[in-house]
Amino acid sequence: MSTVSTAATTSALQSVEGNHACALAAIAAGCRFYAGYPITPSSEVAEKMSVELPKVGGTFIQMEDEIASMGAVLGASMGGVKALTATSGPGFSLKQENLGYASMAEIPCVIVNVMRGGPSTGLPTRPSQGDVMQARWGSHGDHPVIVLTPASVDEIYTETVRAFNLSELLRVPVVLLYDEVIGHLVETIELREPADLELFERRWTRAPPEEYVPFAAADDGVPEMARPGDGYRTHITGLTHGENGFPTQNPEQVDRVMRRLLGKLDRNQSLVEHFEALTCEDADIIIVAYGITSRAARRAVKLGREQGIGVGLFRPITLWPFPQQAFVEIVDSAGKILVPELNAGQLCLEIERLCSPSSKVSRMNRIDGLAITPNEILERVKALESND
């Protein structure tokens, strides 16, 4: 009989792979259900969960396909259990129909997408940032979704915890979007005890069943949820529904529920939209970068500053909804903006949309399966500087 260590994880410094950090953070955040399907470069999340979940009384299941694993995650979450799945581009495409259900029926869930080169089967073992738009618009119809994009193993840990918090609190699907390099990177991080983490739990209703209106929301736009078995006997559907949870085509009701759904994240902007700004105050050139590319950018900023160049970094940690207000306040005034990405130009569309006409946005794109280096970014920064 094979044996595994059941020693409890303790707050300690450990060398951990990015995908494993994601799994460990999920368990620390209270995740007790994982359903997934093998796909490179995310499979280590599933493998780690298959070892760790039984130790804490949770359930791991490898489903028959990507669609089923997303469905099982939502079923578990509807039962009141925090649930996770992980995938990469091709599988992320398949998960979109059920991700849309999570948006519409307001079922908390966390979906990890470890990005690889696309389209189609693409470059399974190579990094990419090609799913920026799929993460935002992959499912049909207007729908709320939060996308977090960690840039280090430690940040995978903290953002996984935050993903569960946001998902449970706001009843919205949260996508953890990082690339193959970060997923397979081994870095030393601090593993926290659940007691040391700030954890938000789902707001279960305490209203008497006869007074409970399942989709009537409080001021923050989020309805309280009822757990099956607690006597509420609610109806959950992907059809557009009224506040009672049953389907409606009444234009007023449809308008009301859709505006609440889509406004939910705006109402909780400070909670949702996280970013980092590095030496932006006096910068003439600001690099907007996320994920692995932001690490190269950080180095380029350091090298640039050493050479007397006024360069800064704006790093959205929440990619969607894009931290628009912070961006406009911090970045737009710089005048010159450089957007390096491992795709043919996706986030730059949002940057170009947000910038005033006087700002000059430059794109920098690698689509050959390799990461952008600090020196490449520094060269572009120097070229932008000398264009004055």
């Binding site: 044996t3 489903m63 469905g71 039962g79 059809l239």
Partner: protein, 279 residues
Amino acid sequence: MTETSMHAFEIRDYLRKELMPHFMCPGCGHGIALRALLWALYELDIDKNNLAIVSGIGCSGRVGAYIDANTMHVNHGRPLAYATGLKLARPDLEVIVITGDGDCLAIGGNHLIHACRRNLNLTCIMLNNEIYGMTGGQVSPTTTVDRFTTTTPFGNHEPGFDSCKLAAAAGAGLVGREITLQVPALKNLIKEGITHPGFAFLEVISDCTEIYGRKNELGESPEMMLSQKASTRSDVYGNSVDQPFRPNAFETGVLTRNDRPEYADAYKQHMGRIMAASN
């Protein structure tokens, strides 16, 4: 409660009366299947608070909402996937899936065979009316050969599934079939499915009078149900060369039953042994 007279069963106790009138067409067999399910729930004394109904998309998918329970109307073809997650997360709930021939055998076919293989303690009731009714009457994986639908204007040339053979071959713990004419028998079959400690697949031969019946001149609901009754022949099926495709004659009742380990139980025991050995 083992045997209760039909009078003691009050269907209104299990329905969301505020949703009446229901959306089903006159003559549709789905309402009869719903009644049989509710009757079975009554006789098994199942607490509505602990009952979860997971349904997919189509006419069958809309049936679940009328039940006064925890109802989840999920995506097309996916109710078994959702139900798998729900049951694993909440083994205390009685989880029943209501699906249709298109939902379960076409878009959801992969989920069905793997649900059968795993043998998780779910009850899957597939309402088979041989057609996509909600979308206006297109051919389904169980449409009889030569029948007319809106996408087989020259008659259906594709063979249909025998879903019970499929489920049995894939390992379902209990497989059964019944027609809507036999309500007490259908109720009893559903009770068998719910009480079986594994995955139960139940095919209900329903009828779509409005679209399928009309288009194929099969008569009104009584004629369609009597023709189904005439097809229930237990003697000819076993060695049919048509299997696993649906023959014109079919068996009813409990067709297969096995005692393979139930999935959640097996997972729990297996992990319990591993964890105990490593402590």
